[in-house]
């Protein structure tokens, strides 16, 4: 049990997908201008990552032993189509939830963080529960990075930012500084 907790914490803070491994940068740059959108994007990420972890585990256990050369392509195809199906189901069954998360789902599926999670999970030989906790941790880590970035961006909205760094330039510089700050966690929980 405590192992699972450390996996979650490690994926969330120490090996944060965005700030330490530089995965999932597109939503980090693109959807981080408002805190509430960023939060919803993050939660949609948690959801998709959990689905990813489940499908990667299923593929690894039942399909890939027979056809190991299909790994990358099957990950991408299965995860993308599964998320599409879930999106349709959510749209039909719970329009309220769809309005909150739905528009982000197709954006996330082709994200490197998704494929990254599937590959990390396979390489580290995580089982079903370890994979799930890893996915939740990674998703919460993305949420944390997104919300931090969005709150900083909102606070710089009224600043007198010089012409050269206005917009994406400043976002990249903030991201770099955040990443520098997250280096402080390096080596933490290295056992997990």
């Amino acid at each position: 049990m405590s192992d699972l907790f450390w996996i979650l914490l490690s994926a969330m803070v120490v090996n944060n997908f965005t700030l330490a491994l530089f995965l999932g940068l597109c939503p980090f740059m693109g959807v981080s201008s408002r805190v509430d959108t960023a939060l919803r994007m993050g939660l949609a990420n948690v959801f998709v990552l959990v689905l990813t972890s489940l499908s990667a585990w299923t593929l690894n256990t039942f399909v890939l032993p027979y056809a190991p050369y299909l790994r990358l392509i099957s990950f991408i195809v299965v995860i993308a189509s599964l998320v599409q199906i879930v999106e349709m189901a959510v749209k039909k069954l719970s329009p309220a939830l769809f309005r909150q998360l739905g528009i982000f789902l197709p954006l996330i599926t082709t994200n490197c963080a998704i494929l990254g999670l599937a590959i990390f999970q396979t390489n580290r030989g995580y089982g079903l529960f370890e994979g799930l906790f890893f996915a939740v941790g990674a998703g919460l880590g993305l949420t944390l990075a997104l919300v931090l970035m969005a709150s900083i961006r909102e606070s710089t909205e009224l600043s007198d930012v010089p012409e050269v760094t206005r917009g994406t330039g400043l976002v990249l510089i903030i991201a770099g500084t955040l990443s520098l700050a997250f280096m402080g966690f390096a080596g933490l929980l290295s056992a997990a």
Partner: protein, 333 residues
């Protein structure tokens, strides 16, 4: 009194104050000078060169790319001084210069200058140096007999390696982390230990900080909250497992006192609300102990403050006081 001055009409507020940004900033600079003097006393005159290089690095980009006359408010000088005081006494001068320039340029100027930066510029510069030159910034020259000796490899140039190895000694935190030996708390308190230029004498920093707090130039809640959290958390860990360092060692070793008093309290990068200040300090204390005890690095004050700087906009948002008469915000959606 002449007729004009009797008829003078001004806009509110009518309560005057002699405090202004330049005045506060230059006072802080003045309170940092005793620390520099103490550093010179402990580590020899070479530290003056290191600090001067850091100050030059901070001042130049501010002069060329900053607002016109921005140097006059003294904030770039503070950044350079603070950065210099957190560097090892034997750091090559060009690295100190680069650190100062990076801190001001990428920590402050890109955000629009004084008052608009999110991260403490001095710490941005130092974090950059730590990432770029991890060996040089953790090389602590040993105290030598001769006070006038220049410690370390001050005049190294980029891409050149040092001619001779410097004699080094570990800091108290390094000793604790990698060899498991402690240092006398009294030595830590007065500062006869290895470490960065300005961080060793806790006593002196506390005196300077108390002066600034009395003048209300810094928010006393932040350092108090940092010290309390660190002491309580480290004390609890020490009680559970005496192998972990005790609270007094945690408080007075490394850059905690310097960071809590001079860096965390930066008016621009700390929360504006009272409740926020307590949370901010508590977060720093907590992260410092976590990084020092379980992390791969011996020192975590810089990272703790930078991480909490990143949280400040969020803390401000959450701790926004309710306007009198306003109902608690209901679910907007």
């Amino acid at each position: 009194m002449s007729a004009e001055s009797r008829l003078l009409v001004t806009a509110a507020p009518h309560v005057g104050s002699t405090d202004s940004t330049p005045r506060i900033m230059w006072t802080v600079v003045a309170t940092l000078l005793p620390l520099l003097a103490a550093g010179t006393w402990f580590f020899g005159p070479g530290v003056l060169l290191v600090v001067a290089a850091a100050v030059a690095g901070a001042v130049l980009p501010e002069h060329f790319f900053g607002r016109r006359g921005a140097l006059g408010d003294g904030s770039a000088a503070i950044t350079g001084l603070l950065l210099g005081l957190t560097l090892p006494p034997g750091l090559p001068l060009w690295m100190a210069f680069v650190g100062g320039a990076f801190g001001i340029a990428f920590g402050k100027l890109v955000f629009g200058g004084l008052g608009q930066n999110v991260f403490n510029p001095a710490l941005v510069g130092r974090a950059f140096l730590q990432a770029a030159f991890p060996v040089a910034i953790t090389t602590w020259p040993a105290a030598t007999e001769e006070w006038m000796t220049l410690r370390g490899d001050l005049f190294a140039t980029p891409l050149m390696s040092a001619a001779a190895d410097t004699v080094t000694a570990a800091t108290p935190l390094g000793l604790m982390k990698f060899e498991g030996t402690g240092t006398e708390v009294l030595e830590l308190f007065f500062g006869q230990t290895g470490g960065s230029i300005g961080e060793t004498s806790a006593l002196l920093i506390l005196v300077c900080g108390a002066y600034l707090a009395l003048k209300r130039y810094l928010d006393w809640r932040i350092p108090v909250s940092v010290f309390l959290t660190t002491a309580v958390f480290a004390g609890a860990l020490h009680l559970l497992n005496p192998e972990y360092p005790g609270p007094l060692f945690m408080l007075f070793s490394g850059g905690l006192v310097l960071g809590a008093i001079f860096m965390a309290t930066d008016m621009v990068t700390s929360p504006v609300t009272t409740k926020g200040a307590w949370i901010f300090g508590a977060g720093i204390g907590f992260l410092v102990v976590v990084i020092r005890v379980w992390g791969g690095l011996a020192e975590g004050v810089m990272y703790a403050i930078l991480l909490m700087n990143a949280l400040v906009p969020f803390i401000n948002r959450v701790t926004q006081p309710r306007v009198f008469g306003q109902r608690p915000k209901e679910d907007a959606s």
